[in-house]
Symmetry: C2
Subunit: 200 residues, 2 copies
């Protein structure tokens, strides 16, 4: 297995991509070299421009190359609603729900074992953002439904509780299209305790 | 779902990689931007250098940035054996077997429906290579065990038959570690017709 140095360097670099191991990186490298050199050059240019150019939105801290991201720059959005998420990917997930309020992007979740406290994930900036904006009536805590995400949501909810703001948590329950017998007990318990009357 | 232009450009460029769809490309782009900017820049550099610098080996036509690939430049290899494969990836696969002869890399396989005849995949260059080298005693046809790969192997074998060279085909049979009941009938038939006496 002796690749020439430039090819070996490309394979190693491709392995930095999430979910790409040695075999996949080899296939990617050789496919680009054999069949799509222009695609490879285009990818190199896009990477350089993005790594150098993309920073964080001044208000919500999601990824963008502008001062404000498209969501924060849009004046038609609801300034009374703020949605707190763990990362930029979550913004795009929540956008699909039709939510049209504002966002704040944390740097992950609280994780004391990894030394990630409130400052590390940006909770002070979140409180400053809420205070400076002054128009938010409800803060939707859309951190992940994991132990750390729940803890982060509860921590923020406690900070918000004495500011007259509604802190809400996204509902846990059975996912659409699933089958009850395949849903874990914890989720099913949440879906029972969160049951709602049917409105006809 | 509104990504800023540079991020959208990066996501589109990542989709040129084999096996990467929209969702995976998004995850890759945001992960690089959030967690590994230096890795992203390193990948951009490696891509640029490889796309500009890597060409084909003068003798075997595999991918390399040098005049000769490591396999062709190695003087200790057996000059009586030539292994013909469909692409550069196959060279690295065959190397794992311990084979230490020479290689010739075709540009895929014969595919008349796609307009790929002997010239398109480099069979004339293969014959020139064999004639110029003059030392090969056996040509191992290691094209893929597909209909097109078999046809390509048979076509080359016919060309070689009146040159006093042995043209051999890699064996078809049951793969190691598999179970007989899961092997398809065609493969099992090959493994029966290719059976060999057990040497104790």
């Amino acid at each position: 297995m002796s690749f020439s140095p430039l090819i070996r360097q490309l394979i190693d670099a491709l392995r930095t991509l999430p979910g790409v191991g040695q075999k996949t990186a080899q296939r990617m490298a050789l496919q680009l070299l054999e069949r799509d050199r222009s695609g490879g050059s285009r990818l190199a240019l896009a990477l350089t421009q993005a790594m150098d150019g993309v920073g964080h939105c001044r208000l919500c801290r999601t990824l963008t190359e502008d001062d404000l991201c498209p969501q924060c720059a849009d004046v038609r959005r609801d300034d009374t609603l703020l949605c707190v998420v763990e990362g930029p990917m979550d913004v795009y997930a929540v956008e699909q729900t039709g939510y049209r309020g504002r966002y704040f992007v944390l740097k992950g979740h609280l994780s004391p074992l990894d030394g990630l406290g409130p400052e590390a994930i940006g909770i002070p900036q979140l409180m400053t953002r809420i205070a400076e904006q002054g128009t938010f009536a409800e803060v939707i805590l859309a951190t992940n439904p994991t132990v750390e995400g729940e803890a982060t949501a509860h921590y923020i909810a406690q900070l918000l509780s004495n500011k007259g703001l509604i802190a809400s948590r996204i509902a846990h329950g059975v996912p659409l299209g699933g089958e009850l017998e395949l849903v874990d007990g914890g989720t099913l318990a949440h879906s029972f305790s969160g049951r709602r009357p049917i409105t006809l």
